[in-house]
Symmetry: D2
Subunit: 206 residues, 4 copies
């Protein structure tokens, strides 16, 4: 059985909930046909988000890592293609830190591709009747920060040798958030949870 | 108990389903705190849509009429404010008829306001955590056609004397439609059905 | 020679300029093939905007009236189809007045159509290589207020008998406004001025 | 005097013109305070676009390279941040070639940052009253292809040693294109040309 680490963030930007956490919190311990899921929460904080992810990876020793974050304004489940080596924030993180054009790793590559089967995941989710798309930008806030940190580590020992794969999925607001946020597009937690499970199984079966 | 006529359209524009019909079909016979609901399907056809609505009104003798239609591309439940005296269609109706700048009623007013409590309905739906908005244009296809025909009749005897009210609600694609339509925004049938029930009760209690 | 009254508003909502005024101010006294243009400024104020328009109409005795207003966020010249009998404002007018669901004329019709040849104007503007569209909502701020007031008067004596026509055109931000407003779409004053002249001539030749 | 190579593409996707070429063609031989500009056209073709750019670089021996491409649908001048190692096309290139998830360089990095002073350029353009923004995705068509090829070469000898910098700027449709394309946002050639000159001078003065 493939072991999959799924992460979600805590709320930020004065929102009472984070759609990503609402979606993934109920997946801890779930067994699918292909996978056994372990869920961990990640703080919406530059720096700490990456170290908490690394700690969870060390503890869980997963074969696949799927990080999930909220992207208010999008209307579909967005499977990210690349993390970039820059943090640049419109709003401070949950520790009050604002970063401006700050590299994440001064020795790192400019960008790292996700190693999830992005296109297959998008097609599988859409095949289940749930709106999904590829995305070529995870932004420059903590979501991209975590994706970059994840992919950088997966290129290194011992993760590279073990063939561990991972990536990031952005999700729309929940309807109750959208009702408070100028009627932005939304998807229900149930549908997005189903989409995350499809992503997990697609990643495991590749 | 207030009697409420709720209508939905059949599918059009090569879509296998019409979100409005999927939402309202299950409401036939439902009793809420304030209302008893009767549901009728309306054809997506200029002319016939109005005559079928009038026939349903004559049969059911409702106190309130809520017509529901699909507006692909919108992200929130949209309570319409006004029907206008023009049909002008990008796509033919289900009888193959295309109309260009055609008045609906050559003796009619330019526009008729909905007599539903639009703002109260929007606030009540949003209060239930479902994205909702007012809309000042129902377009110029069959949805507006029906709204205009409805409001014109409600200004006349005997409907005006009896104080019968009515209006129109546009709803987004269902997620499964959005997954086939370039990831347009969507709302689930369950949430929209709840929104329609809130609209019905708000209209009855005013 | 047909006499045409063209109006534009003064700046509002803390903008240093109003795109509409920047566009039309230079048209005063211009003679086209079909028209002689008189320009007047209208205050962005409920009530006063209509009385100032009526005063200008009485002074100028125009055959055609084209009111122009700014609609930040739109990307094309938008020829409005209808004015509605409601004022409901997100922001106060330039006298500090906010209106909520307020009828403009308690005895008035719900809506009045523009009597400009809307479709011909849109086609003529696009034919000149300038983005243009029809619009079915002029909003519920002072622009709609003025359009409703204009069309109400043109239905009455002596304007109706004389066959005076009129309507409203919404225009995008100017580029310099868009550069300050989150990169909203824009059109240059030169292009929009050309579009207004095309609208004027199209209205005169019908 | 700094020598700057500016490139634009030929028309594609059945458009009679390419906004980028219309903008840059008139800049050949222009001298600004800081720069002497040489303009070359690049074919909208995978592979050839890069070889033609390299040939132009060899001929011109520029200090700065600014490639310009059309991005229909955007409303502001978009200074790109990164080119990614993938070509994946909705439409075939001008040689009829379609690529699906194809790496540009099988030995290349996943992405390369632009070495233009992106933020300074955006601020300078906006300061001149022209809408501008940073962009984190140049897409996966020929524009990104060229940007990736450019940045890969600038990391290598002798370009890296000489400190040659470069990058890519996406521009909106021209108004006449937008008038034919569903009223997409647009900017006039004059304004965009001014923006490109500002970008050139900002890049030279850094």
């Amino acid at each position: 059985m493939t072991k999959v680490l799924v992460t979600g963030f805590d709320p930020f930007d004065n929102e009472p909930v984070n759609a990503a956490w609402e979606v993934v919190r109920e997946l801890d311990g779930v067994q699918t046909n292909a996978a056994e899921i372990v869920v961990r929460q990640i703080p919406t904080v530059f720096g700490d988000s990456i170290s908490r992810l690394y700690q969870a990876m060390d503890d869980v020793q997963p074969d696949v890592i799927v990080c999930v974050g909220q992207a208010g304004g999008r209307s579909a489940v967005s499977v990210e293609r690349i993390g970039v080596n820059m943090s640049d924030a419109r709003i401070p993180d949950n520790n009050g830190v604002s970063l401006v054009e700050a590299p994440i790793d001064t020795d790192g590559a400019d960008g790292y591709f996700s190693s999830l089967p992005v296109r297959s995941i998008v097609e599988a989710i859409r095949g289940a009747g749930i709106p999904a798309e590829e995305s070529w930008s995870a932004g420059t806030y903590v979501c991209n920060h975590l994706l970059y940190g994840l992919m950088r580590r997966l290129k290194q020992s011992p993760w590279a040798e073990r063939g561990v794969t991972g990536g990031f999925i952005h999700i729309p607001f929940l309807p109750e958030q959208a009702a408070r946020n100028k009627n932005a597009p939304s998807l229900s937690a149930e549908l997005v949870r189903k989409a995350v499970l499809i992503a997990v199984d697609t990643a495991c079966l590749k």
